[in-house]
Amino acid sequence: MSAPSTTRFCLRLLRRQLVLAVRRPAEMGNPLLFFAMVVALFPLGLGPAPEALAGFAPGVLWIVALLASLLTSDNVFRGDFDDGSLEQLLLAPQPLYLGVLAYIGAHWLVSGLLLSLVSPLFALMLNLPAAAIPALVCSLLLGSAVLSLVGCIGASLTVGLRRGGMLISLLVLPLYVPVLIFGSAAVQAAVDGLPVAPYLAILGAMVSLGIALAPLAVAAGLRISIDA
């Protein structure tokens, strides 16, 4: 029985997830539009004074990115659970660890990566100093990967629950806090002209740790959810 190599299987899974995202442009554009609109709400709610805006820009940008990631991660496994695809994934001979990594990777590509790439635009709209923009993009790139990894753990644990509601936000938001702190601190440091590298290094360490451990937790979570 010539089972295809595990890597090939995972790449196919990744491609399938990306195709699904592209077929649903609203889904893909949504984190971006959500980001844009919620960022626009802040001046409306807090007042338009440019200096005040610049002061809270790092925090606001990071919080909104975090919310965008949170809201999309709830759906990562939901559709596949409802239509039975998840059962098939669990029954496949390939190691679940890698399959899960493909799901997480796809989620990061269509939410975190895109969001980081367009974030300079919104940074300009909030009067963030141009010097802080590279720090913003880098910290978002790394940080959103951690958000995806952690978010998928929450998603895997709540996907089988009929009474779950948005329970995921309760599970996951506390775990997001360190990312938020280091991410917005990195941007703030860049605004103040301090070195950014230490913060980015911490975020990078979180990413590596997450890649090593999170898929294990997600795989366990999915096995439990399928059984519930």
Binding site: S2, A3, F9, R12, L20, G79, E87, L91, A92, Q94
Partner: protein
């Protein structure tokens, strides 16, 4: 291959399940060998689906007894596992990608055999209920796993389709595979059908 030869593909011993305060089955033991076709029967709520999920390894808690699986298996459940936004061809290609390498021609061929010729490239959510299930059933033509666990495969399938499915199952059994199927209809196959009757607890 003679029925019952060699080690069983799947051995269940002393299965016992209680759900919602009702005992669905107790001390259920059976071996499934190559060349056998089993039909699980019982009224609605008798525990057929629960049993199939235990056999497939999807349920791992909440029951007593042991299940030993000695061969790769294919499980088709109540849900069709067909993604509405993908085309039937993409769905099938993805489903069989874990088990082997199939060319596009193989896939189109399997789709044609379940009557979806001409529907390969539409979005699956525009298919009718029966066509939707047929996409999933097309896996049977490409599957090399010796043990099939099919939970109500005939749901929403028209009469012609049921006949063809029965033929595929017969062929699989004749070729040395084994099939466990739940259905409320009598099977019209020309091989021995072993029946596993789940009794109590169902709707009366």
């Amino acid at each position: 291959m003679p029925s019952g030869a060699g080690a069983p593909l799947l051995a269940a011993s002393d299965l016992c399940l209680v759900r919602g305060g009702r005992e669905l089955f107790r001390d259920l033991s059976f071996d499934i060998h190559r060349g056998q076709l089993w039909q699980v029967e019982g009224a609605n709520g008798a525990g057929k689906t629960s049993l199939m999920r235990i056999l497939a390894g999807l349920s791992r808690y909440g029951f007593d007894g042991r299940v030993q699986r000695r061969a790769p298996l294919l499980y088709l459940g109540h849900h069709s596992a067909v993604k509405g936004l993908l085309t039937p061809r993409e769905n099938l290609a993805w489903h069989v990608s874990g088990a082997g390498d199939w060319s596009d021609a193989d896939i189109d061929d399997a789709l044609a055999r379940v009557g979806l010729c001409g529907y390969e490239d539409v979005a699956s959510h525009t298919l009718s209920a029966g066509q939707h299930r047929r996409v999933n059933l097309a896996r049977l033509y490409l599957c090399r796993a010796p043990l099939w666990l099919l939970d109500e495969p005939f749901t929403a399938i028209d009469r012609g389709g049921v006949g063809e499915l029965e033929a595929v199952m017969t062929a699989h059994v004749a070729g040395g595979g084994a099939v466990v199927v739940t259905s409320h209809q009598a099977l019209q196959v020309d091989c021995e059908v072993r029946s596993l009757r789940l009794g109590a607890g169902g709707a009366q």
